[in-house]
């Protein structure tokens, strides 16, 4: 029982990172129907930024300064990526091109990391100490990731329901034609949505840097778990991504505990299949998602 609690606490920590990736998918998906495969490596880049700017025993001051810097940097990068991804979509009906362009972006980031960082996995220390909770020492970045996930959930909720630009983005998702008739510049907002997803992964990668693998080849695992989180929760639903992420984190940790680490991925992906077969639109999703 005690063991199970420990596993679930750690699962929730890593699950919060998946939830953040899931939410960053949603922003882009809602505005353009695109699933950005590069998001995992973008998270890693956020972590790499933390590694590059934070000293080996960082103070809390610089941490707070560089957190927004990481978010903004990744936002700029994702805006560029978004522009490139949307480019072939305008001139062709080929609906698979975004898949290739986003995957290719992911491969390119991994390759650049390999060239400049080699295969080493970078280590970042958290300025915040671990703390004891339910009989386990919880690394602070887990708690911060969970906090960040909640903050982003709240921010996105506010953004999509209060801020004018956010309203415009959700308007695109609700009725594309009516949005265009209202003079909403869809293409620009789609790129903006990419940038916002960059804010999310940029901050997530920075905050979670001490507990994620910052390496050239670790993005794929994060992008997959983020996908699973988003799809289980229902693509497009931030609440879904939040719940889905925590669920995936806890279940995969629990699977490692009960069946062994070799079945960790198998179990979380079995969860995905089970949810899709039973409820194809996901736990909190609306049926019939709209595409570009």
């Amino acid at each position: 029982m005690q063991d199970a609690l420990i596993v679930l606490v750690h699962g929730a920590g890593i699950g919060a990172v998946f939830a953040l990736i899931g939410m960053s998918f949603n922003v882009v998906f809602n505005s353009s129907g695109i699933l950005n495969f590069a998001q995992g490596n973008m998270l890693v880049l956020g972590g790499l930024f933390a590694f590059l700017v934070l000293p080996s025993s960082p103070g809390i001051g610089p941490w707070f300064v560089f957190l927004p810097a990481s978010a903004l940097l990744m936002a700029a990068l994702l805006a560029v990526q978004g522009y490139l991804t949307l480019l072939p979509l305008r001139s062709s009906v080929e609906q698979h091109s975004w898949l290739i362009t986003t995957l290719a972006a992911s491969v390119i980031i991994g390759a650049v990391l390999l060239i400049f960082q080699g295969t080493a996995q970078q280590t970042v220390r958290s300025p915040f100490p671990s703390f004891w909770f339910l009989g386990t020492r919880v690394p602070a970045p887990y708690a911060l990731s969970l906090l960040l996930a909640l903050v982003w959930f709240g921010l996105l909720r506010w953004f999509h329901t209060r801020a004018l630009t956010g309203l415009a983005i959700s308007a695109i998702a609700q009725d594309l034609d009516a949005a265009r008739a209202a003079g909403i510049r869809v293409h620009r907002l789609q790129i903006l949505a990419f940038a916002i997803s960059g804010l999310i992964v940029g901050s997530a990668g920075f905050v979670a840097a001490p507990v994620i693998a910052i390496a050239n080849d670790s993005g794929v695992s994060y992008v997959l778990h983020g996908f699973v989180a988003a799809v289980i929760g229902g693509l497009g639903s931030d609440l879904g991504a939040l719940v889905g992420g925590l669920l995936v984190g806890m279940i995969s940790m629990y699977a490692a505990y009960t069946y062994g680490g070799e079945f960790q991925d198998a179990v979380s992906l079995a969860l995905l299949v089970a949810v899709l077969m039973g409820r194809p639109e996901g736990l909190f999703g609306r049926p019939a998602a709209r595409r570009v």
């Binding site: 091109s97 362009t101 390119i108 390759a111 991925d265 198998a266 995905l272 899709l276």
Partner: protein
Amino acid sequence: MARWQLVLGILGVAISIVLPALLGSAYWAHNFLVVNLFVTVAVMQNMLLADAGQVSFGQGALFGLAATTTGIVTGLWGYGYGAGFVAGIAAALVLGLLFALPALRVQGYYLGFVTLSAAVVFPQLLVAFDSLTNGINGITVSLPGLTQAGRAGLSWTSLLVMATTIAALLGHAALRGTGTGRRMRVASVSPEAAMTLGIAPGRLRFLAFTLAALGTGIAGALYVPVLGFVSPYAFRVDLSIFFFFSVIVGGSGELAGPVIGVWILYLVPNAILAQLSVYRLLAYGMVALLIMLAFPDGVVGSVVKALRRRQMRAQIAPIDLAAVLQDENAQARNTAAPTAAAAITVQGARKRFDRLLALSDVDLTVAAGRVHGLVGPNGSGKTTLLNVISGLIRLDGGEVRLHGAVSSRLPAHRLAALGLGRTFQTPRVFEDMSIWQNLEIGADLRGTRNHWLLHALQRFRPAWTGNRPDLLAHAQRRVLETLRMVATDADILLLDEPAAGLSAEERRDFATLIRFLRDRLGKTILLVEHDLHLVWRVADRISVLDAGQIVAEGAPAEIADNPRVRALFTGAADAAGR
């Protein structure tokens, strides 16, 4: 159109295997063996994606499973390669069928995720079940009889690989010429149109996954003699993604696409830029990205599109209605004079979509051999009623009978087989097939090419085989769709706004066609149409539908001054009714 691609593909495969062997380049010989195995898998992926419309990101797992099984049976258990080969293919088929199961429930990228999961987990499971698979150590299989170079430097393995890859290309091309291949593409482009042509999309998805598994399985089994070693690390998720990439980069749906795609994505980074070592991954990503930016439809796809644009002005034999209308055979078809018997009976039909009551207690009787007009304002439920009768939508209450037999619980493709045909508001003409093939899809339902309509139109065949329907004007597409329905030998025809988009003259011609179908061929026709002039011109009887209810019914002359009908002409009914 497609022939040059086939020739190009086959030449590419043959040359890539024979030439390095002749030149004695072990390196290129080996590389191209691997490349051609991958081409085979990509051809299957192409068929699955473009012909059957199924998104699978898990073909690498099928490939790996076949290879591993062959390795286990041949290398670990010591049976001959023949046994391993068969076992490998069988294993791939089983997994292929497992992939097809979710395809009945989820489609598109969701299906992609399910299959992607399989691809991610597959190598991990190979390691986890190491007592069976030899896990991480892999399996060494030495097959000198197959791999030793014989005449002209070619080994049995290279001959087998060449034959397999060419067979895959030929098979893919041949599939497109068969009724099954046509039905597969129809089911992928428009499942509902497919069902009304008597096609069960689910069954074809199974077939497509099975065929793909077969081809992928053979390639996987051949991987064993080509590499001589099988281990989980060779079948990571990257491999599945690579196959999908290859199809898209080459040009989804193009016969030669997989050949070009695999060549570019495998050879550019792995052979041509191999010295770059750590820069190789960068090259791989950049090549894929740049190709998508430069050729949004893939390399071959964009070339084909450009060629087609150039051909746009080519002359095309128009579909000549007169030829059909004057056909002697056709005139002899009308065996029975119109009887009073009901061909379609709808009783108490009810259908609700969320808050909207689309049909509330609709009763409708259509007499055999008559044209029955169904009119009403937008959103009055006309198309819903057609969908209900043709089996695309299940009723909430009430029933439909065709020739007296209850039909409302049968799926659309069964109804089509029973002789129900329908057209759609936008003609469902299949762009990537020739005009003639579009017609043949109709005759396919009866399982024969020996259809009187095809005979009657025989003299157009050469022109129609060479031309694709994307060159046809809208009215001709409408006629083509209608002729295709006639080719199914359906005796009850449901027409959904056939006159939309036709000019006045074209409408007159179409009216002639409708009369011909009734008088000469004895068809029963239910006509949904906004052009009331047309309806009044051809219908024997007219029903007016408003807000899901029949509000008037009678002979055209009887109901012309019905206020509901007058309102239709002026549109006043819309507000009054609600």
